[in-house]
Subunit: 261 residues, 4 copies
């Protein structure tokens, strides 16, 4: 049986997602904020420590188009297998002195990206994600620019989980965006003993071909809502630092294991 | 109670959709084809007749952003209320010598557009619609141009209904696109007598502010599939005439009644 | 072209729903409550008046299986066309001295029931509806009885709209349930003039074959949530009167027009 | 950070699913059939061998209600977290002389069950699953019995994947149903080397509290459809052996590792 992941099959076609490298392009609503550092510390697996700017965090609402390297025609063969929406929360941290981010909570809206995320250490759950998508020819919207308003909403299990808003005020430069090096916890349960994972390791994402364009900034708001099935509201903003809208392209080649538990 | 449509409510906020004018912007995969004129004739409500190019037809796969005139911030207040995907089939016809198109079958993926369509005479049903969405920063996709491949898929009640494919070969001009004047059948049942509709009238859409940009052409394919709940496969292509990808903006102000049955 | 409703088609197969009679069977979580009569009055189209128990209201969360008379095999041909979930709010009223209920707000999760509702005067919108479904063989659930807890949740446009809870305390009789005679507002816009509907009439549902079984009662709670796109929260409970869980079968033959506006 | 699985969180509430034991109850449309033993052999990970009845297989369409042992009120707290539909294909095999089944392909419709399946070795993907749900009070359906017709449909990525049909002819006994001992392949990729999994082991499900009731049998049909993203059609029936409809309750306590690769 062939395949990078389940389901393995005689020809390897049935697997839920192709192996890396994976290529991405997307448009991102970003809110950069400060969360309570005491709460951020609670979601950092050791040996990760608080970053040099404790509590620094950002959220992304993204509409991605992704294809695999082995099947670059994926977006054409079946668009459903190449698109998804994502709500990603990243909190700053430090690994042996290196600054970066980890992702305690993240939601997506399809299976291939859910599992591809788990393989990398993104703890994805399913949700419905809605993002303003301005169209330049819509007579009441016009091209993106100062005054354009954007919103991202994440809803899961019948509850609104997160909502980010942005009112664009002007152009920004790539340098104003946080650099997103990711330290991620890969974790996979044992089937024999629920208290002892079969896999538990800290990985660093290996990302290439990063390209950013069309960077805008603006006034932002961000809310997290209480839920019986989420704890993201503990990481709610105590200060909004910036809001951006930009396009991002990149290739994820996989990860490098930094630490095994 | 206030409202343009149900549900009426004390403040008029609960209605499923705001009144016209409605403003649209979207990216369209279009296949122009010839269907069997005998079959096209079967879906023309009299007094519509076959057009001067009998059997001429086109399909659109579109990802729309739409807002209402009374609530232009809709795309920001809740993106879910401003976006939908559509698979629209139009067949050419003539009304008292005027050339145009009618829309026998059309699928969308949300309630506000479903009912807004019914109000105009677009006989919308719900389906899931998937369209290739190339992202220019995706390292394996690059900007749209010759060689870009696009697909649209429409699936309803667990069945694939329609699939359109396009391989872009070059730029095209707006003049190459069919002019889409729509003659539509508004029809609404009586609650007392199922055999006698409460509303049955032929309407012409009143469209303004039409803007087209980024017109590409290419090699196209189109398939309709059999189904217990659809008859679109009778209108299957007997000849593919053209394929296009373009952006469209417009305002629909409502309709003008041409004929009452 | 044939058909009871759009889309009309050569064989009449494409229509979104078959003509009445329609046959229903479902399991219902019901909360009977008192809303503010002043607010109830706001959602009664004249000549409907407040009922003799002003403010009396109930909500249903239902999982329906429905088939049409002309196609009783529908649930077998395609189960997707025969099942839906519903959240229905009914407020008591009086028509020329006759007691009954009208339905100002109602949500369902598929197209055929959405439009079938509109044809009758149920102002349906799409939502996602979740209901506890106890299974008697689940080792931790057991058969329904005193102590069983049930919940219904209605979520639309990324917002929780309504939530009903019930803790069963014992058996109840059919006589304890409100009699549900429905007076409904049929309303359909004109395409030429948004301020003047093409159809506006008061209809009474014609219901037959009503059968009720397995009636339980219990302690209930009900919450409506604020929303930019709903006004149901104005009808929030000022007193919970009863909670029930029961099974219902019926046939809807159509409606009788009582009044034209 | 606490949790049985990702996302780990300070209180352990955010995890996509609670730890075992998990308790299930559901109604099952089952088709027992013979697939081509050569094709079955292709989906058996060694050391699994063909069973004593080579090619014996069955498909289940199930509507499950499941709760966890640590949170038995789950079905009440949020019904959405306790229900899912499943299409499960099992093929017979032998492990060191012990007869059982493995599950090469399986589809579900929510995240918690998708990942809970992966943890056990069920290679789940997302799909939409539709099953006839007869309601005894529906005036045109009546109680289940001889003549009742049932269908299960599984649709993923815009394609119909599988369809099973059953026409009930009479009662059956529990003894007529295949015994479902499951041997499952747990497999989880490495993030550093796509060609070498981090976890690859053969597990046997540990199931308790099995209860079966309301067993019916009938005439069955089963179709698998071709797809670019599935290989299930290679396991298509060469002979239909039986069809059943029954209710099942059980507790899954986890699994026992039989073999590590």
């Amino acid at each position: 049986m062939k395949g990078y992941c389940l389901p393995l099959s005689p020809e390897g076609k049935a697997q839920v997602v192709d192996p890396p490298p994976w290529h991405y392009g997307g448009d991102i609503i970003q809110v950069v904020f400060k969360a309570d550092p005491k709460e951020v510390k609670q979601v950092l697996p050791e040996p990760l420590e608080l970053g040099s700017n404790p509590g620094l965090a950002f959220i992304w609402f993204v509409e991605w188009t992704s294809v695999s390297d082995v099947n670059p025609d994926l977006a054409y063969l079946n668009p459903e297998r190449s698109q998804y929406k994502e709500c990603l929360l990243a909190v700053s941290c430090r690994y042996h002195g290196e600054e970066g981010f980890t992702v305690p909570y993240i939601w997506v809206d399809n299976d291939f990206t859910l599992l591809r995320g788990w393989f990398q250490g993104f703890p994805k759950k399913l949700a419905r994600i809605y993002m303003t998508r301005p169209h330049p020819l819509n007579p009441k919207m016009g091209p993106i620019g100062p005054g354009t308003k954007l919103k991202g909403i994440c809803e899961g299990h019948g509850e609104r989980i997160a909502e980010a808003s942005l009112r664009i005020t002007g152009k920004a430069s790539v340098e104003e965006l946080p650099k997103f090096r990711f330290f991620l916890l890969r974790h996979y349960p044992s089937v024999e003993d629920p208290s002892r994972p079969a896999v538990m390791e800290l990985a660093q994402s290996v990302v290439e071909n990063v390209r950013v364009s069309d960077v805008w900034k603006g006034e932002a708001e961000l809310y997290f809502y209480p839920s019986f099935f989420e704890e993201v509201d503990k990481l709610k903003p105590i200060e909004i630092l910036a809001g951006h809208y930009f396009s991002l392209g990149m290739t994820i080649k996989g990860g490098r294991i930094l630490h095994r538990y």
